[in-house]
């Protein structure tokens, strides 16, 4: 295989900041000289570490779309790249920005501008995973057993727990440094509604237009306590469930797990800010960081240095969002790229609306077939063909995504059964499940493998 690489871009439009990160994924055939290729990402080189911009807002409810596009265009020029050069990557709208009225529009516009193969994504679960990968918690857990990352941003705190390199749990809290905004004189400009309620319950006298350093510190402490509750270090209060972003509670990390902190607030957690104006960023991020540093979290777990702090999410989106499929696969090239395929677990096909309208392809997820026999493959191929043929409209490809190394054999069997009645994409060594969305890019590694982005959720 000749030297090959993919130019990958990450764009993160967060509550507080907008950032971009450009990297080059170096592909390598790990099998050496044999005729069974094994394309892997051998290295990730940084091409451009973007500047950190405040996210431009049109109003409390809308992102300033033009200004965001202006930032990205200027950063592309600074990086010396253009949309046409970009092979893969992800635009992610995170934290409070994801709730703005035009969030989806912004993401899709940016994705189009950023490059044909850059995907638009959102959702607290995906954000948690990308931030943890950017911070390096996944790799840390390979050496150290269990590790979790807490990415504390302006609007949300994202949690992702890894064990032995595998994702175990993710979740998100509505806790962030910019949920209270303060002017240079220390006067409160804005209090997010949930935080206002939290203060009321906790008896903290906080009101817009007033300056009260002691009350602000108490509010920051109350926010840190919510995180302690989530991590199993404090009894959950009545207010706690309000702060679960998607209403789902998390399983806490095992005792003694390693912890990395990332996000804009992280630097203060590792090092005391050392004086200066605590409101210099116009919010209580510095106070929140200090309160987390003083909380039970660094005592109960083992703090480790993250690979990235404020850039963790954008680095995750830019350098760690794309995976490479197995290298013995089957596909109809003219069907690629495919975007936003809803994933449906084959074992649970009866419960899902597989092919809701028949026109949109879905990614059929096939799991738990380690070492299938020839007969197993034939049976599965026949069932898949019958299912697909009976439901999908003409020309809609059958997309099968296998967990185990079997896609070339399955693809061949499907072709034998279907006699080319429909286009086929059959790939393997990709972990995905019902509820995920999958993007499949143009072939890489001399055509042996396909770049894949598995997204945990897109806009509802």
């Amino acid at each position: 295989m000749r030297k090959e690489s993919l130019l990958s871009v990450g764009i993160d439009v967060g509550t507080t900041t907008t950032q971009i990160f450009v990297s080059r994924l170096m592909l390598e055939n790990a099998s050496g000289s044999t005729v069974v290729p094994a394309i892997k990402i051998a290295a990730r080189e940084t091409v451009y570490r973007g500047n950190i911009f405040f996210t431009p807002l049109e109003s409390e409810t809308e992102i300033d779309m033009e200004a965001v596009c202006g930032i990205v265009a200027a950063e592309y020029r600074a990086a010396g790249i253009s949309g046409g050069m970009v092979d893969t990557g992800a635009v992610i709208i995170t934290g409070e920005s994801a709730h703005k009225r035009n969030a989806e529009k912004v993401a899709q516009l940016l994705a189009r501008f950023a490059g044909d193969f850059v995907v638009a994504a959102a959702g607290p679960a995906l954000e948690s995973v990308l931030a943890a990968r950017g911070a390096g918690a996944d790799e840390l857990s390979v050496a150290r057993g269990s590790a979790f990352n807490l990415d504390i941003g302006g609007g949300t705190s994202n949690y992702a727990l890894y064990s032995g390199g595998e994702l175990r749990e993710s979740g998100c809290f509505d806790i962030g440094g910019r949920l209270i905004r303060v002017d240079p004189a220390g006067q409160i400009e804005y209090i997010a509604p949930k935080i206002a309620r939290l203060c009321k319950w906790s008896g903290i006298p906080l009101r817009v237009g007033r300056a009260d350093a002691a009350a602000l510190r108490r509010a920051a402490r109350a926010m840190a306590e919510i995180l302690e509750m989530g991590l199993g270090l404090r009894e959950k209060s009545k207010a706690y469930p309000e702060f679960l972003t998607d209403g789902r509670d998390i399983a806490p990390p095992p005792p003694g797990a390693c912890v990395t902190f990332s996000g804009g607030v992280a630097d203060v957690i590792y090092r005391p800010p050392g004086g200066g104006d605590p409101y210099r960023y116009g919010d209580i991020g510095l106070l929140l960081g200090e309160e987390i540093r003083k909380s039970r979290i660094p005592q109960a777990f083992r703090p480790e240095s993250p690979r990235e702090t404020i850039r963790a999410t954008v680095v995750g989106a830019g350098a760690h969002s794309t995976a490479i499929s197995g290298s013995t696969i089957a596909y109809s090239r003219e069907q690629l790229p495919l975007r936003n395929l809803p994933a449906v677990n084959w074992a649970r096909r009866a419960e899902s609306a597989l092919y809701g309208d028949g026109d949109t392809p879905v990614a059929v997820i096939i799991q738990d077939m380690k070492n299938p026999s020839y007969q197993d493959i034939q049976l599965l191929a026949a069932e898949l063909c019958a299912w697909h043929g009976g439901r999908a409209a003409e020309g809609v490809p059958l997309v099968a995504v296998c967990e185990n190394d079997m896609a070339k054999a399955l693809g061949q069997a499907i072709r034998a059964v279907s006699r080319g009645a429909f286009p086929l994409i059959c790939l393997d060594s990709v972990a995905a499940d019902s509820g995920d969305y999958i993007d499949i890019g143009l072939p890489a590694g001399d055509g042996s493998a396909l770049p894949v982005v598995v997204k945990t959720l897109i806009f509802g």
Partner: protein, 260 residues
Amino acid sequence: MTEKIPGEMIPDISEGQARDWFAVPRPADAEGYLRLQAATSARLGVWRAGTRYATQSMLRFRADWAGARDAVNTDVPADFIAACGFLAGSTQCADREVYLRRPDLGRRLSGETRELYAGKLAHDARVLLAVGDGLSSAAICANAADVILTLQQGLALAGIETGPIPFIKYCRVGVMDDLAPLVRAEAVCLLIGERPGLVCAESMSAYMAYRPDPGRPESWRTVVSNIHAGGLPPVEAGAQIAEVMTRILEQKLSGVALEL
């Protein structure tokens, strides 16, 4: 030793994988140790008695060694060959002793076998599939059927039909150079058992060549190796071999010169 209860079997020491064997008593971090163990096929966590291996670990080592020896010394059962419909033949090795000492004889078909194959195999076939025991009969029993069925399906999709399949006892890879000219096969794929190790005794290889003959160098052969449940799964191997074979026929060459 525990007292033997009549009618109860003692545990089979060779069951499971050696790498799943963990004998460290009271480990400080069992999970961490198991992670290290999972990263290698070396024997970690076998524990000791004084300066020697623990009895169970020693027995396990000897059981795996015996498994490797058995794979070499056991014949592929006649009923397996019959069930697969293979044409049973042999090289010029009279017995296994000769086979192990005389690689040259393992590369030539016996006179009787030449006669049988000349009469029963398809002549001028585009692809001749063949199977040989090589150094692991266990590898053939475990993998050959799934590979062949998948490979035949893949070749059929490319419009290539295959004929009867010879099974060659006491077989070395080079026997394909003797076999192919006999029936003027354009390309040959020989499935053969690999030399067993302590990690796996069931690994199989597929050696492929375009118009093999005794004058060709080793570099003329293309190989897909490490075919077994823990390596390249047999069905994936079959589909990959089918693709490689079609490339060999297209390019009319094989080995290092082949482009995939």
